[in-house]
Subunit: 506 residues, 2 copies
Amino acid sequence: MPHLGPLHRGVWAALLRQLLRPPRAVCIRAVGCHSQVAEAVLTSQVKTHQEKPNFIIKVPKGTRDLSPQQMVVREKILDKIISCFKRHGAQALDTPAFELTEMLTEKYEDSCGLMYDLKDQGGELLSLRYDLTVPFARYLAMNKLKKMKRYQVGKVWRRESPAVVQGRYREFCQCDFDIAGEFDPMIPDAECLKIVCEILSGLQLGDFFIKVNDRRLVDGMFAVCGVPESKFRTICSSMDKLDKMSWEDVKHEMVAKKGLAPEVADRVGDFVQCHGGLSLVEEMFQDPRLSQSPLALQGLGDLKLLFEYLTLFGIAEKISFDLSLARGLDYYTGVIYEAVLPPSPAQAAKETLNVGSVAAGGRYDRLVAQFDPNGHNVPCVGLSIGVERIFHLVEQKMKLSGERIRTTETQVFVATPQKNFLGERLKLIAELWDAGIKAEMLYKNNPKLLTQLHYCEKADIPLMVIIGEQEQSEGVLKLRSVASREEVTINRENLVAEIQKRLSEC
Amino acid sequence: MPHLGPLHRGVWAALLRQLLRPPRAVCIRAVGCHSQVAEAVLTSQVKTHQEKPNFIIKVPKGTRDLSPQQMVVREKILDKIISCFKRHGAQALDTPAFELTEMLTEKYEDSCGLMYDLKDQGGELLSLRYDLTVPFARYLAMNKLKKMKRYQVGKVWRRESPAVVQGRYREFCQCDFDIAGEFDPMIPDAECLKIVCEILSGLQLGDFFIKVNDRRLVDGMFAVCGVPESKFRTICSSMDKLDKMSWEDVKHEMVAKKGLAPEVADRVGDFVQCHGGLSLVEEMFQDPRLSQSPLALQGLGDLKLLFEYLTLFGIAEKISFDLSLARGLDYYTGVIYEAVLPPSPAQAAKETLNVGSVAAGGRYDRLVAQFDPNGHNVPCVGLSIGVERIFHLVEQKMKLSGERIRTTETQVFVATPQKNFLGERLKLIAELWDAGIKAEMLYKNNPKLLTQLHYCEKADIPLMVIIGEQEQSEGVLKLRSVASREEVTINRENLVAEIQKRLSEC
């Protein structure tokens, strides 16, 4: 297309591809995206150096890059989480990013449509993992493991509508801790809740509490309220929206969309608006309706035991027994929980800071059996920390505090005030690297001293080694503290020892 | 299907799905897989507790789980690599696992077919990343960055035929370090080679060397040999196989498959069988054929400068100038390199240990411009460490040495010799966790003391805290060293302080 002028051919091809694709494939920020593309096509013929069109070069919808600043924050958060998992004796595990599609299907209520499938390119049918729990259960069954306490940190993918402001993404990182094995009731479950408390306290995110409920109690409650068994799961998923919607709206969904009788919905409503502590558990034990359901009584019995252990752990006041908690995922069978940060008054005003649930989990006693053709089972309980939401909070907090983040760890900068010292600088810096010292220099034959000083100040590098004609002739070097601007002269051969001494002092 | 007997319905569904699918979607290990499936169907009616069929529960072809033991090895390797990257002043970056397909296409010669595409589920067309270099270039262009020294560690995916024995996978981890920006020639390039040397020495993988060449020299050499320009890339990729195939076989490919004239191939052969050090670079400078190509002379000039810097870094003896090195990826424009572990005589005998290239990289000066509609450019040079191959070597080495790997870091185990001490154990362990001490206990109401002792020995936990009736009545605890079996009595209130003292002593 030579008549199109100075615009790069590849750009034309890309623009045309964009025009030929359905609108939602390209629009993320644009309101009238077709006209924007058309405009770009038109103006690009006029403006040779137009702005790079941001609908061409972008990351996929719902994903993001993490910049070096963000990576520092991310690493700090992950370090805290992982060291807590290790404190509780967990082993590390890694599984592939994708699984055979059939390993994942039927594990997630209402969620199959949210899975990223890989294109059939000949071979197996694959999907990106939706969480780290199902791959863990697959791992246990595949290796016939009857017991394991493991953690796993990794990305998972869900094709949800991204509400990026709230810290929700289509690609996000999860940190999971799970205990698999046949044990006495509620001891591992209590440890999971202890871990959530330790992590959320350790990250200093402010006040938090953990909603707790039991799937058997939910099912028992549905039964005694008269919810038909075929509707249990779908009513569950409506109920799960109670933290985002009012009871009226949830009831409307149950009745109008899911065909529940209004009086049944009202009976459910009586229960799900209850929350409290151990005393509510005991009160529910006395409830004449729930007493009819052995399933509900089992759930209540375990919850009572759980509260006993949580009291011994000193975290009972962080726990709220909440009959509305259902958890969307289909595989839970017993205790379920979800940690929530209540918005502070200041946060409530700025809606963006309300991130909702930051950790969740529960007991899934029948998932491993789904992978074992003999139905051999391994009961499991676990938790998942939602890193993106925590990241969002910590990032906001750091922005507000104006805290400066160092994105490198460089300790020493090798500089020269004169020309023709590249060779000396290369020899010096190699000596530092070989001694394990973190060092940088400018990639210039003859950099200006001021440029080198600025680099150190900008990157917060604490020490400078300076070599010039005078130093070379005397067999010495200058060691400069960037902050205090003090300089001392040291013998060339003492370089590494002197620097190690200085670094151990700071 | 009630007449089918005790076999789980889900298993039947899975078996039927397998039977209905084309064979290559399910068979990986089986030779006659249809008959195996049929046999499984038949025998499952007879044997209720048959072995779990391994074609049903598996990970996708070319991928693997990393067990806790493997994760310990993996983490050690990654720690060494990342600390080297940080020693050289690199910042961390993370990018999504997938990119818009159009961001990746035309970046990899001959490799598009090896990309994992995501299914078009409505929305953008996406592909899993093939390396970390192209996403880095996309990041630079998208954020209009003119300079950056970054590292990135992450998985990449390639649909290659997996030869799992040699440590080749379809999902694998790469560790990349790159320097982007306009600098004086060969200084960042030399640092990249220094980094490869530091990492491979640090990992103690035995002897290694790094092949170095220059893409301009390759192109110049092709031109003076009479290779038609349209065949440069395809002849390049044949040449790249010289480390796996003999020159005769490579020549045959060039002539028979790629249509090169035999005398042209012979001229290429004269060059590509040369390798040596700086002296070979200087010899090539005198070569009357190469002197005709300004491109070749540019490459040779940079290689000479590179050798000068590598000598100052003290690593010149690790470098082999090798005219056969081409590197498959299309984006390289200047210096290219590849680190190789030569098989020791013992390894050569056991073919599985020959893992070939363990690190590679080069200069790619025009990749960023491909993402910028104005063609604004950022020259880059970088390297990539192939973790899987290194992992394979380290794992083999550890197996041979019989070294025992601890997969947890637990410091203290809380035990009791008597019944009814669960409450006390829970209180004690919470105190330890809250003090940051890594602690475990058994999830049993009344575990046997012997079981508890065995657990500690098996998991190499160094310390035990023991509480029983006598200790409780006296307000004391027993602290036992698992290795020496020595026990001391400490005051209950000194628990944390005593343990911290003990742990700081070991």
